[in-house]
């Protein structure tokens, strides 16, 4: 007997992954990565997922006016 609940969530997951793959392709094309997409689609997908995961763990500064480091220096 098919578990409709798990099939439903599996379907949602497939849809979500399909959407993510499309999003990654769009972003990659915007970055000019057509050649990489053509020859190494899995590498592009893996890189994007790693970047999204890292971004998700980035702890933003509580004060959004904080200077970046290294700070700007004038050149003499």
């Amino acid at each position: 007997m098919v578990d409709q609940k798990s099939t439903g969530s599996l379907g949602a997951q497939v849809l979500q992954e399909g959407q993510e793959a499309l999003d990654i392709q769009t972003l990659a094309r915007l970055e000019g990565l057509d050649r990489a997409l053509l020859h190494f689609p899995e590498d592009v997908k893996t890189a994007a997922r790693v970047a999204f995961n890292v971004r998700a763990t980035l702890q933003a500064s509580e004060d959004n006016t904080t200077e970046i480091w290294p700070v700007m220096q004038v050149k003499s």
């Binding site: 990654i24 972003l27 990659a28 970055e31 000019g32 990565l33 050649r35 990489a36 020859h39 190494f40 590498d43 592009v44 893996t46 890189a47 994007a48 790693v50 970047a51 999204f52 890292v54 971004r55 763990t57 980035l58 702890q59 933003a60 500064s61 959004n64 904080t66 200077e67 970046i68 480091w69 290294p70």
Partner: protein, 459 residues
């Protein structure tokens, strides 16, 4: 045996006339010929140049014109550093036509000090992608067990030193690439304070995280090499002592050491042998008169997130054009890692750089309470080089990254030997531009332990 000699032993041999640059060079070349077919430390061995330079050094030394402790001493160069007229391959097909027009300042400084170069050493492609088997050169292997990796990205530098091919080598360190091979190969390796050593003429991975650092088999040799490397920047803006060797023998009595235990016990759990070696190191420092106490910093994960975003963004900026036009020329591992930055936004980079300042403040605050920090290096000994999943899993299990982000000097040194016969390592971290204290503590530990006298048996 000539191949395990330290710089001071070599200098003494030259002064006494029991050794000459030519006989040393010949002995090392013979060893490289015999063993590098299994170790793969060298990308390019320049035998003729090594012998010619040795002959010049010999004449000068015999005439009493010594240029200092490195005169006639061989130094290995990671092939990401420009040497005039030679290809800087970065261990990559992408760079096959990149012939350097001039020496990087760090090479100029070495030549002015009379050091001899033997050619170029292997690395992980562009200091990020390795160990990889889909490149024009084979990956370097660990002399302690050639089935295992030697760490990276300064893999050839680590291999050459541990195999007894050279007494000194240059590495670069963006996320631990000097200290990782130092850990895997049982060596000393220093990531100096950010900007203490010029990065000009060194192919960038991530400019605000990149450091050029000395690697050797002893702390004293690190100090001697750093003396020369630090001449590449101005002492007025980058403070340094007359020599990093002067205070080496002062000991650690009264020195306050902060032990960052949570990095390897809470943030991640290190191999028990690594933990045990760190606990022993604390005992050794206490027995030498230092005060050791636990200290807390932000978590490894917190440091890691900012460092990764910065590395990805800066690395993408360097490689974007090549990755768009000829991605097939990269090894798969480098391609995957360097493409990440394409999927981050400018805001991510700025937020990581804002957070970086706060993390630097946190480490500087710790230095209000202690003189140096003691931390784990790699969380386990080097795994097999052909075990891709284990390489990926273990390469990120380390406590090196925080100090690329903050810029503080960090010395890696051997802290033990695993039951599998592979080196274990620790790190000593200092205040900015206080390499002197870090090296002093490292020297004291080295003299109190047997690790630096151990070498792999390559037959």
């Amino acid at each position: 045996m000539k191949h395990w000699m330290t710089v001071s032993e070599i200098s003494r041999g030259y002064a006494a006339g029991t050794l000459s640059p030519v006989t040393l060079t010949e002995a090392l070349l013979e060893r490289i010929d015999a063993l590098d077919t299994q170790c793969h430390a060298f990308i390019h061995l320049d035998r003729a140049d090594a012998l010619a330079t040795a002959l010049i050094a010999e004449r000068e030394l015999r005439a009493g014109r010594s240029l200092g402790p490195l005169h006639g001493v061989p130094v290995g160069i990671k092939d990401i550093i420009d040497m005039a007229g030679q290809t800087t391959s970065c261990h990559s097909v992408v760079m096959r036509n990149h012939k350097a027009k001039q020496d990087a300042p760090v090479i100029t400084a070495l030549r002015a000090a009379g050091a001899m170069t033997f050619g170029k050493l292997a690395l992980h492609e562009f200091a990020i992608g390795g160990p990889s088997f889909d490149l024009p050169f084979p990956p370097a292997r660990n002399p302690w067990n050639i089935k295992h990796h030697p760490g990276g990205s300064s893999s050839g530098s680590g291999t050459a030193l541990a195999a007894g091919f050279l007494p000194l080598a240059l590495g670069t360190d963006t996320g631990g690439s000097v200290r990782h091979p130092a850990a895997a190969c049982g060596l000393a390796g220093l990531k100096p304070t950010y900007n203490l050593v010029s990065r000009r003429g060194v192919y960038p991975l991530a400019m605000s995280l990149d450091h050029v650092g000395p690697m050797a088999r002893t702390v004293e040799d690190i100090a001697l090499l750093l003396d020369v490397m630090a001449r590449t920047t101005s002492p007025s803006t980058h403070p340094r002592p007359e020599s990093y060797t002067h205070d080496l023998k002062l000991g650690v009595k009264g020195l306050r050491i902060g032990f960052i235990r949570h990095f390897h016990e809470k943030d991640e759990v290190a191999d028990p042998e690594v933990t045990s070696a760190l606990d022993s190191a604390c005992q050794t420092f206490r027995s030498l008169g230092a005060q050791v106490r636990d200290i807390t910093l932000p978590s490894l994960k917190t440091f890691g997130a900012s460092q990764k975003v910065i590395l990805m963004a800066e690395g993408w900026a360097v490689h974007a054009r090549n990755l768009r036009e000829r991605p097939e020329e990269y090894a798969q591992m480098s391609r995957r890692k360097l493409l990440c930055g394409a999927f981050l936004g400018g805001g991510d980079y700025v937020q990581a750089m804002q957070h970086r300042g706060e993390l630097i403040d946190a480490v500087n605050q710790a230095f209000g309470e202690v003189d140096i920090l003691l931390a784990a290096n790699s969380f386990e000994p080097a795994c097999r080089i052909d075990d891709v999943l284990e390489v990926v899993r273990t390469y990120t299990r380390q406590a090196r990254v925080p100090f690329n982000l903050t810029g503080h000097p960090a010395l890696a040194m051997m802290s033990g030997l695993s039951t599998s016969g592979l080196p274990l390592s620790l790190q000593l971290i200092g205040k900015n531009f206080d390499e002197t204290t870090v090296l002093r503590a490292g020297f004291a530990f080295e003299q109190a332990t047997p690790w630096h006298t151990m070498h792999p048996d390559l037959g």
